[in-house]
Symmetry: C2
Subunit: 575 residues, 2 copies
């Protein structure tokens, strides 16, 4: 029977707990958000004793369902003050599920300083001091833990940024080849883990795909069908496997919605130099990989392994990171972008937030746009904890406050990623309204706005964007609860068999008889739980807005502003 | 007839405007808050083009009413995000009133960089470039302007902190002896002035007490009576004139509610070394003044002039500043305290916020508690705009976010001043609920909690604090609208003739027939206008709370926590 692991960091106690009935049908984001909503006071200090960090595999994680190994990490976010679910690849989700662990709940706060390690094996779970790991980067911590506990363990860890309680620090874990940078990056959850004095979690489980399934035959058939649906779609079957997520660089640039020079323009004349095509060419030439799975059993394999001239390897360089350190900073040198990415991975910082923050510092004149060397030097300050490093680790909104910058691309304290809301207005609606703070994955309207997947809604017009974002947010909340990668949505949106097949897998695994409506109701309920938490934490419709400059400054090349009215945005959650 | 001066910083235009009827009976805070509420979009960026800075004398300012020369400065605060009124002494209020100027409204935002000076004389108002003043400290700017425009002008200016848009920068003006440090310090309004490219306002007016009065004889009699009321009260007639505001140091320490070591304790064993008694002794011995009027016609003269060993003069060292740099940082050297004060005055930073911020940095271990030399070195970074200087200028809340500190004494982003809310619970209610962010002047419950003025409410108990704070907040909003110094409240609260005499002065000046109920209704209305602005800006009852640690950590010596419930705090504005 599935269990929760409760980790009391104040008492240094670890215990297994039966899962209450109300949580049995929940997984991933649905479970982390429900647990946080039930157990964390919405107005509490995110870095204080009353916050909890919840780590949960998705409902389908640990089975042979394709691309189902995503991990959800939830808490009250110190960056946004909202409830938060941050989603990562890596092997942890499948290992936890195969150990029958539905969630790890880390709670309390030690009175004294110091860092600990939690070890989870088929025999149980225990915690011990890990002062020798304190201060170390995530690459080294992962290497040490693999040496100590076995090559195949999953290592969940924070870097020095999380230890130093920096508000944009993330939590990473490794893929099956040992690359340690599969990040639950957004929302500063690394600082929550750091505040609890937990440096790392090692999960040792012999199995990956053997989580219990009620009806194995039925499940196998559905999984096979779902795999075919993914492989048959041009995005999930061809585009992503060929060039990875960064196939978007040229596409988004062409669409004129690639935020350039801290959102001053929508097109970067050197975008192709940091594109997926270029990345694939260079990576392969250097013995790296243009295609790579972030977790076992993924058929899209949209990630990559990028060897750098200095002998280090950055794995992966995803699109949003290539954007945040590339066009956003007017940097067109892929090796510089990869190095900035690597520094973040090692110190434990969200790459999107770090790029947005460097953009704000460039806007303030602290660093010059395009100056890769200065950007690297600045980012290296993070691990040293200097005042500048601290400011960078604090995220774009706080950097903007410290430097008096008004062009700060952020909502609810979280930096806006790689799609300008003025020329991809569906994403603008999502940024403004998702309970997560600006988050492209929460309702990825790039689908219908730019890629013409799941229909077409003109990205430059306001019509239809609210409905588009609403439907995507609901669907995403459901997908994020299954452990399936969000990218399955490309295929699911275009194939009427998609959603029923996901539901069929869930039914076969749990012996249920859910309908597709039930799945969407689950997604809708997740959003309602999250919204209610935020409301109690003090968020109002005034927070569901984009920064002023998006409504007053025109974006080239389309000369568009974000012109959806507040009343329209407030309609997103009328369901 | 009274006029507004409208200063359009985008178009560089200055014009006089008739005062609309609805504003005729308003002055000071009532006027700044009403204008901001009417003309500033609540969700706008405080440093963007839609915010407005409003400077207004009080209703009685410029007359012979005693202690009536306070100036109100209002805007949407970049520090708190709330509506803000910041209140200062100095000679500006009386000069504006004598020129028939009811408010100066600074609006718009220049497209280009650069700083300007606004000159207001009996002949009109004009604006011209002031690049030669840019980057200069407030002492030098004041000296230059007095040399250029005459010894008797009022000089309203920001320092480099305001130019650099630091969120805790203030706006200063001079007293009649030329001391340039009468600050509208709180809420970062200096950054609003800086964002508009306005470095200074020079007001040249020949008269101080000759603002028009409808019934001079009646007015004179009431003013005389009011003067006697002030002089007859032990606080306003004896305590304040003898030792100034810093007479409170030993009193508050004795009461065990003197925040020490960043609010870790309620008593400082070396408090007497930075007390008003000590200050008076040292100041007088060095040729300074233990008593001093911040504006002409004040009978309380609670300020001081403190010569420092380095030959510079700090005027004044007020209680809250002596606390913020003294006990709060465990610094007991009055010369160090005065020098920290002087640096803030010159660079243009709120001393309360700067002290709270240094306390947070000490909590984070960036500086050691008690290390005056390090505190001075850190504060000197502000003017240089280094990352550490920027963090200090950004205020306590942002510094806490940058350094991951949970013991941050602040409400709505503004640092809590010199009275611990756990052992002076009435002030705690005020900090939590005032529309201004933590502000002791908004409802100074020290009166009944500690000084036993206007009755007695046990400071350690929760009973009666809501009603006390509510009544004080209403009365304060009224007083802040008259131009009277808030300290008149000590006498007014204890003397049944106090409030009627204030109303009599207003009636005589404006030819009205207000009752005392009308005056309190004015105060209540000011609060309602401010609350409504904040509500539209996105503030909720979740923002009307003290930081978590005040409710979980006991304060010595009384072993008290702040234990008023949320529902109780929400009752403050039920009127």
């Amino acid at each position: 029977m599935a269990k929760f692991i409760r980790v009391d960091m104040a008492a240094k106690q670890v215990r297994f707990e039966d899962v209450a009935d109300k949580y049995l049908a929940l997984g991933g984001r649905a479970l982390t958000s429900q647990l946080v909503a039930d157990e964390v006071p919405p107005t509490c200090d995110p870095l204080g004793p009353f916050n909890k960090l919840v780590i949960a595999p998705g409902l389908l994680s640990g089975t042979s369902a394709p691309s189902s190994g995503r991990l959800s990490v939830g808490a009250k976010s110190p960056l946004t003050g909202t409830i938060k679910e941050s989603n990562a690849g890596g092997i942890t989700s499948q290992k936890l599920a195969n150990l029958g662990i539905k969630a790890v709940v880390i709670e309390g706060k030690p009175a004294e300083k110091g860092f600990y390690l939690l070890k989870v094996t088929p025999d149980g779970a225990e915690m011990f001091p890990a002062e020798d790991l304190a201060g170390k980067g995530t690459y080294e911590v992962t290497a040490i833990c693999k040496e100590r506990y076995g090559e195949k363990v999953a290592v969940v860890t924070i870097g020095p940024a999380g230890e130093m309680l920096m508000l944009s620090s993330g939590i990473t874990n490794n893929d099956s080849e040992g690359n340690s940078s599969r990040y639950a990056g957004r929302g500063g959850l690394g600082a929550v883990m750091g505040s609890k004095g937990l440096k790392a979690i090692v999960v040792d489980a012999p199995k990956t795909f053997d989580a219990p399934v009620a009806e194995p035959g039925r499940f196998k058939e559905a999984a096979k069908k779902f795999s075919k649906i993914l492989l048959d779609h041009p995005v999930t079957g061809q585009g992503l496997p060929a060039y990875g997520t960064n196939v978007l660089m040229n596409v988004i640039n062409e669409a004129g919605t690639l935020p350039t020079r801290n959102f001053q323009s929508g097109r970067f004349d050197k975008a192709s130099e940091v594109s997926g095509e270029k990345l694939a060419e260079v990576a392969v030439a250097r013995g790296g990989k243009a295609t790579h799975a972030c977790h076992p059993g993924c058929v899209m394999r949209c990630s990559n392994v990028y060897p750098m001239p200095n002998g280090k390897v950055c794995a992966p360089v995803e699109y949003e990171t290539a954007w945040s350190f590339g066009p956003n900073l007017e940097i067109s040198d892929l090796d510089v972008v990869a190095w900035l990415n690597y520094i973040c991975n090692d110190v434990g910082l969200d790459t999107i937030e770090a790029g947005c923050t460097l953009g704000v510092l460039m806007e303030a004149g602290v660093i010059s746009f395009g100056d890769g060397k200065a950007a690297i030097a600045a980012l290296e300050e993070v691990g040293k904890g200097t005042p500048l490093g601290r400011v960078i680790g604090g995220g774009a909104t706080n950097a903007g406050k410290i430097y008096g910058v008004t062009r700060v691309p952020a909502v609810k304290g979280q930096g806006i990623p790689a799609y300008d809301p003025r020329s991809c207005k569906g994403n603008g609606v999502t940024y403004a309204t998702t309970p997560m703070g600006a988050d492209h994955t929460a309702g990825y309207a790039v689908t219908a706005n730019i890629l013409k997947v799941g229909g077409y809604v003109d990205p430059l017009k306001s019509e239809g964007q609210v409905e588009l974002s609403r439907n995507l947010q609901i669907a995403t909340a459901a997908v994020d609860s299954t452990g399936l990668c969000l990218f399955v949505a490309f295929a699911v949106l275009d194939n009427p068999e998609g959603l029923p097949t996901v539901v069929e897998m869930l039914n076969a695994q749990y012996g249920l008889s859910l309908t597709t409506d039930d799945a969407l109701a689950l997604g809708a309920n997740v959003l309602k739980v999250e919204r209610e938490f935020n409301k109690q934490a003090g968020f109002t419709s005034a927070d569901d807005r984009l920064p002023e400059f998006f409504t007053t400054e025109e974006l080239l090349p389309h000369s568009t502003r974000f012109d959806l009215k507040g009343e329209e945005l407030d309609e997103v959650f009328n369901f």
